[in-house]
Symmetry: none
Subunit: 232 residues, 4 copies
Amino acid sequence: MEAEKRLEKETMILDAAERVFAARGYAATTVKDVAQEAGVATGTVYLYFPSKEELFLALIDRGTRAVLEGIVRARQGKPDVIAKLAASLEGAVRAFSAHRDLARVALLQAPGALPACEERLAQLHRLFADYVAQDLEEARAAGLIPPLDARVAAWAWVGSFAEILLAWVRGDVADLEEVLPGLVAYNLRGIGAPGSRQPQRGQAARSAGPAERRSAGRDQAAAPGGFAAGER
Amino acid sequence: MEAEKRLEKETMILDAAERVFAARGYAATTVKDVAQEAGVATGTVYLYFPSKEELFLALIDRGTRAVLEGIVRARQGKPDVIAKLAASLEGAVRAFSAHRDLARVALLQAPGALPACEERLAQLHRLFADYVAQDLEEARAAGLIPPLDARVAAWAWVGSFAEILLAWVRGDVADLEEVLPGLVAYNLRGIGAPGSRQPQRGQAARSAGPAERRSAGRDQAAAPGGFAAGER
Amino acid sequence: MEAEKRLEKETMILDAAERVFAARGYAATTVKDVAQEAGVATGTVYLYFPSKEELFLALIDRGTRAVLEGIVRARQGKPDVIAKLAASLEGAVRAFSAHRDLARVALLQAPGALPACEERLAQLHRLFADYVAQDLEEARAAGLIPPLDARVAAWAWVGSFAEILLAWVRGDVADLEEVLPGLVAYNLRGIGAPGSRQPQRGQAARSAGPAERRSAGRDQAAAPGGFAAGER
Amino acid sequence: MEAEKRLEKETMILDAAERVFAARGYAATTVKDVAQEAGVATGTVYLYFPSKEELFLALIDRGTRAVLEGIVRARQGKPDVIAKLAASLEGAVRAFSAHRDLARVALLQAPGALPACEERLAQLHRLFADYVAQDLEEARAAGLIPPLDARVAAWAWVGSFAEILLAWVRGDVADLEEVLPGLVAYNLRGIGAPGSRQPQRGQAARSAGPAERRSAGRDQAAAPGGFAAGER
DNA sequence: AATGAATGAGTTTTCATTCAT
DNA sequence: GATGAATGAAAACTCATTCAT
């Protein structure tokens, strides 16, 4: 088979796998499920991927590549390192925002699914954090930000980004684009970037929302009254 | 059986389950594994938990309770809402830091393990975020911080905390206590709290560390050269 | 323990077992179920019966004994062998009719439950049939009935009796006493006993009943139209 | 898979199941046993039947169908309703007599094996009895037999047939064909059909046989001496 | 290359039986 | 004698993987 046709079918299967894994999770998804979703026979999946595990990892790797490319693209032509840093976050969010299924798989299911996968994702997190740390170093060297613990800042940066994506995947955030500016601003303030002192006005009004909206879920796990319960 | 003895044995089994699930993940762990780790027969586990699924959920719920209690305790006697907010984060981190296995289970494996579990954790995340948002509202109302999008700030706050825990679980952060001040400072700056303008000096020197240490992992998933690769 | 008390408790457990086995069947009944129904601990059952299997067999044996006694009692004082034969059938029916649970167990569940049990019941059937055959021999020798194949007559006699009991257990026959005269008459005619030539009048009116009443059940297993379907 | 091949394999598995269930009973038979008897892997059984329970029910249904067809075939071309009735019994006996395993399963094990099965068989018994009752009604309307309680006669008719089959399955009746005329005659006399007054001569001599042959079994469950023991 | 029937190892769960209290 | 917690063997069922067609 010509390489092109092969690649095309491989992509078809990966697309199907992404949908099915996203919907049912790694363990609950059978190779037959994936094959049916892709419209091929069970055995055909094994012509393109050596095992269910490798299929899943290929999915993760494809997603990883897409996000990294999104980041690289977003940084292109940005004037300074701070702008590039901000653009990185935006680029990553946008890369995911077109693929909610991918995000479900990569953020929710992948870490616990397979040891190999956990390791892969750990490396990805480190990679992101290291790049952020590099940017922060560079920004500090250029005098754009004050000295800071770049490690911690990098984890925080990555974590805030991951959490927003998770919230979006869960349906707690409706529109990623809408929250993106606030997220960037938060992190720019976090690293002490100039011109980021004052949070943006005009969004505060919405802030009470979640607290009320979610009262149903609260009584499951927590004492009533929030963190302050039991305090004097 | 007296309630006390029963509880004791239940705890034994939960402890064993925590260790085994942390080490192998939900799907790869068999009930027999848990029983052996606990030093009882397979059937005995079923005398205390009706199914593998319920055993896992009991684990999550126990962890959730412990963390929430840690937060409430940490907030006690703090003078203002900003201090309480900071203390919440510290309390949660400390609650986890005594139980790395719990953290592994709750943060890595639980989300993808079971639909019921995903929902449980989603509620917990919402709960955390809502409480943070409440505190932020209160702080803003008291004039302690400028107006901001409390939702986004809350997600970022929670996410930065979760990411640090993950890094610790993975071994990328050796000592949680050491990084805690930096994490709190980052987030206080993020919300625009006064007196948090300047990052702490003296920690910037360490920041290049992780980037070099982990170079092995990078070539798996990413083009070399950081986000800037491909840029002009 | 004094023998009397022991016997009393044994009876309690057997009574409980009869109820539970009748309701759920042999396989679906656990020893714990029986113990709970009897109001004792699981282990206590094993103080009185060596195994679940033996418990079940003890139940069957008790029932067998009761029925045989009922037969013997019914034959007492009957003038001739034909009357005794008829009385045997009535006695057996009456012995069961006070214990529907016993009948359920002995007729429906026991045969397939255990090889040992199947053998036990087979012997019982043979016993019944042999006795009937003996009576028939005696009746023929006395000139009360014409010569006949006593084996076949004996099986038919026993089978018609068992079937009526089954129908009663299933709820298809409401009152055993009501159908008993017809059953005896049928079998007396079957063996050619004198004075049994004409079926009893006045019952024919009911005879169309079952055919109409049960139409719901029929479409499951049979072609419509009765046995005649497909005939010219 | 073409429907034909599938059906062929399904039949193979059903045949194997019939043998194994007949030999060990429902509860004592494992799916693995059936698979081995059929010469396939355990999982293969599940490709054709969704569960052990459904496999067993399929067996019962197949048997039911075969017997009903045997009955319909036997009735074809019979001159009057009495002849048809007699032919029905003969047809059913012959349908079973080719499949002793089927008879063992359907008559001994099925009733107690599964609630669903009990219900299925109950309907079958009702069906048989209702058809017999219909024939009897018709015969009475045609003046071929005197009025009688058709319900009771129908149960007796079905029961005598079932009992003979059981005896054959147990080995107490060697040749079904041999006893069939006697059985039909017995029941024709039972319903008062004309020309059935005198039992067949020449068979009475055999009748003492079983009673002696089986004396070993008797002492298990019964007092010695027949029903007359204890009588004066 | 593609198919999908067949495989059988492995998992969860049940429950008869035992035995320390 | 009585208890009921503990045991662990066994069974139904699933599904990743193979391979004849």
